[in-house]
Amino acid sequence: MQFQITDQEIKPESLRREILRDVSGAYVSFEGWVRNHNDGKPVNGLEYSSYIPLAEKEGMRILSEAKERYRIEAAACVHRIGSLKIGEIAVWVGVSAAHRDAAFDANRYIIDQTKARVPIWKREAYLDSPAEWVNCTDDTPG
């Protein structure tokens, strides 16, 4: 079980090897990519920042919860910070389990909880308007 914030490029192949288990018959991975639009606005690039000690602590809690809720063998999540370009991987979640149902469910749980709870912030740079901290400009955070 590992939850890591990194300023380095995310390399799924090496991360995948970390959660290979002889008892696992299923592996599910999720990659979150930087896309070129959000809310109808063309996006030029992203900057992520994090309160790292708390992010990694809360992330480990999420992985432990996933292990308690689903019959999985191993899980890991890595989130990148710093400046990212279109198409780069912002977040990677991998889960291995004896069977696929638990692997799919646990992966979904981990990415959903990570997005909702882990102190990571995203500043989007737009092609045609000033950069914004996502979720921080409206009265109703989404």
């Binding site: 994090s50 309160y51 997005k115 102190p119 901290w133």
Partner: protein
């Protein structure tokens, strides 16, 4: 008492600094944020924030002690 405050994201931008140590009489994070919001005209309402004391989530009415580190956490947007 002395409290260290770390700022992130929009709060860091509006404060123009990422870390500072202040002398304060604020007994709780709730009072502390209300003071800082007035001083630096932060746009985020406390209802949009969470608070952490000494690297873990805390309640808004947590009793602050000398030397504590406080972080106000703007709405997160990972993924």
């Amino acid at each position: 008492m002395k409290i260290q405050i770390e700022y992130f994201a929009l709060l860091k931008e509006q404060r123009g600094a990422s870390i500072e140590t202040i002398e304060t009489k604020a007994a709780t994070p709730e009072i502390l944020y209300s003071d800082l919001k007035r001083q630096y005209t932060f746009s985020l309402e406390p209802s949009a924030l969470k608070v952490a004391v000494n690297e873990d989530f805390a309640n808004w009415n947590h009793s602050l002690e000398d030397g504590d580190t406080v972080v106000f956490i703007p709405p997160v947007a990972g993924g």
